[in-house]
Symmetry: C2
Subunit: 636 residues, 2 copies
């Protein structure tokens, strides 16, 4: 049994870390104008008052109010320019002995005199010394996080330089023989080297910089001795070391040993997913972390462990925004293990609902897609339907509100729609979740989605989509908008090495098939065609292996994971595969009645009906767009 | 009548500006890892799948699942290392022909063999090609604002460089003979030159950088011809020009003329305060702004006009956070003029209440102090009590929540408390609002403040503070904590040039007095002493001139605005003034009963009772701290 299997709770892990970290004591003197975001180490007092002398608050003439006491519309007072009235602009120091300013618009001027028809009062239109800031006043205290207005205020008070805490320095060390640096790598059209691009170290460095660290990426280290030397040396120059990965139980996972050897291991393993194999120890008084290798684990580990370290080192609190959300359905979780789940958020009737994204620690794209993170504590078995939970926000609420969300069937046209949408309306966006046609329709039925895409053939009526809507949404007001006709077919490797002639060959013993998920229109089509040709599903090798998009099927065939799959023509074209046409189907958009009046839907329709949309679809190939944008059912 | 008096509404001004601005079309190719915050100009597709090949998902042995089908606890399968079972780590490419991985912890190993006691299934512990990202898939669309997770996702998909929109460039041009640059200025102990430190250009440049501009500060220009040349030249290199100030009606306000001369003036003057004299025009297709000279006006003008310009130039939306708030009392405003008012926010019973700060456009420190900005539209005469309004947040809500707010009497000890509070609890803070003792007590009475400071003498009883509490807060549970005894006295210029001997000399014709505001403890003391000495208030020159803090009185005397004032000893010491002791008074803290259980109050008490607090008070001088921290009335 490896040590890291004796996990501790994440709260305990954070406590053990923070116990061992003290705020940075080094301070530096920097020009005030570079102070935004920095943290003061001393109270800062005003060097000068602002204004530092009595000055005019307006453009006009300085004079002495006593001379104007008798002024009146009928008995104006005339003052001699130079001696009795001195031209001043806003901010000019008051001439010695003068104590009021008359605004330029309120005097009559001649070359040598001004005429005043209203008495002035003492200090009229004058800014007193220290009206804004008084010399010696404390402007900001110790441990103040400087904002841009603080910077300007200090400059106005003559404070040219300030003492601030040195920024914390972090070193990110990528390790592993399997890694390759994207900028060193030969830029071929395919990744031939069978090495993985190191993106974790970029991720960790980016997260560190965004948090406020000065982050340095070390080149990839593949050698144990080198790693040991780098750690031993770097603890002198950095406040925090992150070794990534080397934190699980593999051959090359020597982080734990190196920490134990050079310093003291504090823990290895946290009962948290993702992030379980995290390591922490102290080498020469400096915190050294083993950050797990799966990128989502790396990101969650950073947020969980390194952000608190930053707060402790700097005394600056990191702003975290969270919102109350509800679960639209049951979200299970393993007891004894805390889970952090990436979610999309969708607002319905003023409430946010969470839609969990794939939980796999290797699926990093879902981190970029996620609107937020939800946490399931280790002592519960997940959440039931309609429970209130708190979600950490990763995106701005306005961005979520301005977005259309389309669930259902996957098609490349969704990416084109998204791109055109953001070109025309940069503040908008389109999020698509590939659940398959039927799940999309059920989501609309349940009211958790306003839009879904579908291509389900009714084999009795030989009609696409309308029968399934009539069946599942009989009492919902919906409309059906035609997106395009598209060619579905068998995709097989270039040159057809297995000599596959049609759907009937899928039953052959030497043919490996790759299927689509249950409820997808393509799966329904496959089943219909198999039935038609009298092929028994059980006889098909790979029938149970499911992918959830056309492109995933394409890549499986190109990579020889399978010999054949069913997908749209565009996929065959993109991946240079052979294509045997099976059906021309209708890919349509279902819209819930109440959403047809939404501005976001109006924009989406504008995109779908645009010439550029049709043009780009036709460029991909396999689409027919004669009726694109027409309403096939219901009304808008 | 000057042109700028013909003002337009701010909404119309923004409309006129945006009509004339197009998004930046230049794009640049940058390394993906530098992409955080940048905006894509093209859709970005995955170059490689992630993973790009079939690889192991765990550390263990790769094998073929078919060989393990018969494995069982009692009939283990033995596989030969090298040929039948190949050692793999997470991320290693799968050896040709192998299709499952057994985790290292689940095998028994010898030098040449591994033993398996459980059958594997096809693709077990294997990551398929494109499990995360599929080659060719659109990862981000056009006009996408890149986040740190997008950056890592693109790198994982082999995208080494991305096309992004060029950052918008802005030039800030400070103008005016009255200005001096803080970094060129002689660093004396006093500002002798009678020139104002230019901090607006730092302010505008900081705001521009924070918004997302590449900002450049031009050196200060004092000459009209030079300004004309700089504008004429710079419109070629920058997307936006800000001329500051030169936007009102003074001698040197030539921004309007230069714009009209080189291009076309669009407007001069907006019915908005602060920010009224704003100017906008187009020179060689580039927007040129005249930004008002008062710093608060400059900041509000930037937010109102330049932030929308940034959004238009880049297509990126600026995140603005606002919260619903309530007015604790009537807040008047001039009809026909939109007003933007700086406010502090205070939470009471789950609602935010707004407390307006001084409205003067020259009081910039209140911009740094403000938690938010409230807007009063031009078509109403302000808000009544308890009206709901929306406030733009300038500070984080958590910072507001963690803060203690003390209203009432001003004393230097408040700054020391604040500094010590933030040293001990960096996430905390102390906000003090100097309303004078009596207003502070009334704020506690009204329930809009939990803490106030006071030093009011009851001349009948000759007792400080307790009588006034008994009088104004008879039915409120409050406690009174002693902060310090302090010396009040007459402050006069060094050497006593007017030969002032005591309070009785304030009635002299040649003596100018500076008073404190009505309701302040010091004002009450002054009135008591005058009564005692039989001096008639009306005979005192300057009796009606009020300042709201001890230091403001100090500076008025030092700057010869007045000959005498009443303030604490510390002020005399700080400003090198002479001091004639008048009274030793008790400066105390009133705390509302319900707040005594608050953690923030516990922290405050800890600070007040600390040795370092007493030590620092005594260092300033004029304080006695024997009883500091004792409870004089009520209980904690």
């Amino acid at each position: 049994m490896r040590r890291y299997l004796e996990t501790i709770k994440s709260e305990e892990a954070v406590r053990k870390i923070l116990e061992r970290i003290r705020p940075i004591e080094d301070e530096e003197l920097i020009p005030t104008y570079r102070g935004n975001g920095r943290i003061t180490t001393r109270p800062v007092a005003a060097k000068y008052s602002n204004p530092p002398f009595v000055c005019s608050a307006m453009d006009g003439y300085a004079t002495t109010f006593e001379k104007t006491i008798e002024a009146d519309v009928t008995r104006p007072v005339t003052l001699k320019k130079g001696s009795e009235a001195v031209r001043v602009n806003t901010g000019d120091a008051m001439p010695e002995g003068m104590n009021a300013v008359v605004i330029r618009e309120e005097v009559e001027e001649s070359e040598r005199f001004i005429v005043i028809r209203r008495p002035l009062y003492l200090w009229q239109n004058i800014r007193m010394v220290g009206e804004d800031i008084i010399e010696g006043d404390m402007l900001v205290p110790t441990n103040h996080v400087m904002g841009i207005f603080d910077v300007s205020m200090l400059i106005s008070a003559g404070v040219a330089n300030i003492h601030v805490r040195r920024m914390p320095r972090i070193l990110v060390i990528p390790t592993g023989k399997e890694l390759i640096d994207i900028y060193e790598k030969q830029q071929g059209t395919r990744n031939q080297e069978k090495r993985l691009i190191d993106f974790n170290s970029h991720l960790l460095a980016e997260m560190a910089e965004e948090t406020g660290f000065q982050a340095t990426r070390h080149p990839i280290i593949a050698d144990r001795k080198e790693l040991r030397d780098v750690v031993n040396r770097s603890v002198n120059d950095y406040d925090v070391l992150l070794i990534n990965a080397g934190s699980s139980a593999g051959d090359e996972d020597y982080t734990e040993d190196i920490i134990s050897d050079l310093g003291a291991l504090v823990f290895h393993g946290v009962s948290m997913m993702p992030g379980r194999p995290a390591i922490f120890g102290i080498v020469h008084d400096k915190p050294v972390f083993g950050i797990p290798g799966y990128p989502v684990s790396a990101a969650i580990s950073f947020q969980t462990f390194i952000e608190p370290v930053y707060e402790r080192l700097t005394t600056k609190r990191i702003q975290r925004r969270s919102v109350p959300c509800f679960t639209p359905y049951k979200i299970p979780s393993r007891i004894g293990m805390e889970e952090i789940i990436r979610v999309n958020l969708q607002q319905h009737h003023g409430r946010y609902y969470v839609f969990p994204l794939p939980r796999g620690a290797s699926i990093f794209s879902s981190m970029a897609r996620a609107d937020g993170l939800m946490r399931i504590p280790e002592n519960i078995e997940g959440y039931g339907e309609d429970e209130e939970i708190e979600c950490l926000l990763l995106k701005d609420e306005a961005d979520i509100a301005n977005r259309v969300h389309i669930v259902g069937s996957h098609d490349l046209s969704l990416d084109i729609m998204r791109d055109l949408m953001k070109r025309a309306y940069p503040e908008a966006d389109l999020l698509s979740t590939h659940t398959g046609s039927l799940s999309g329709i059920l989501a609309v039925k349940k009211g958790v989605a306003n839009l879904c895409t579908t291509h389900i053939l009714d084999d009795q009526k030989n009609v696409y989509n309308i029968p399934v809507i009539e069946k599942y949404l009989p009492d919902r007001e919906v409309a059906l908008v035609h997106i395009a006709k598209r060619q579905q077919g068998l995709i097989i490797r270039k040159g057809n090495p297995k000599k596959i002639a049609g759907i009937e060959d899928l039953g052959r013993e030497d043919v490996k098939f790759i299927n689509r998920q249950f409820g997808s229109g393509t799966r329904i089509l496959v089943d219909l065609l198999l039935k038609e040709k009298g092929v028994n599903k059980e006889s098909i090798r790979g029938y149970e292996r499911e992918e959830s998009s056309h492109t995933a099927v394409g890549i499986a065939v190109r990579e020889s994971v399978a010999d054949a799959g069913v997908a749209i023509y565009a996929v065959a074209k993109i991946f240079s595969l052979d294509f045997i046409p099976l059906a021309e189907e209708e890919y349509d958009l279902v819209v819930a009645g109440e959403f047809t009046k939404d501005q976001r839907f109006a924009r989406l329709m504008e995109i779908i009906r645009s010439d550029i949309f049709k043009k780009r679809l036709e460029e991909i190939g396999g689409y027919k767009t004669e009726h694109t944008g027409t309403v096939k059912y219901g009304k808008l």
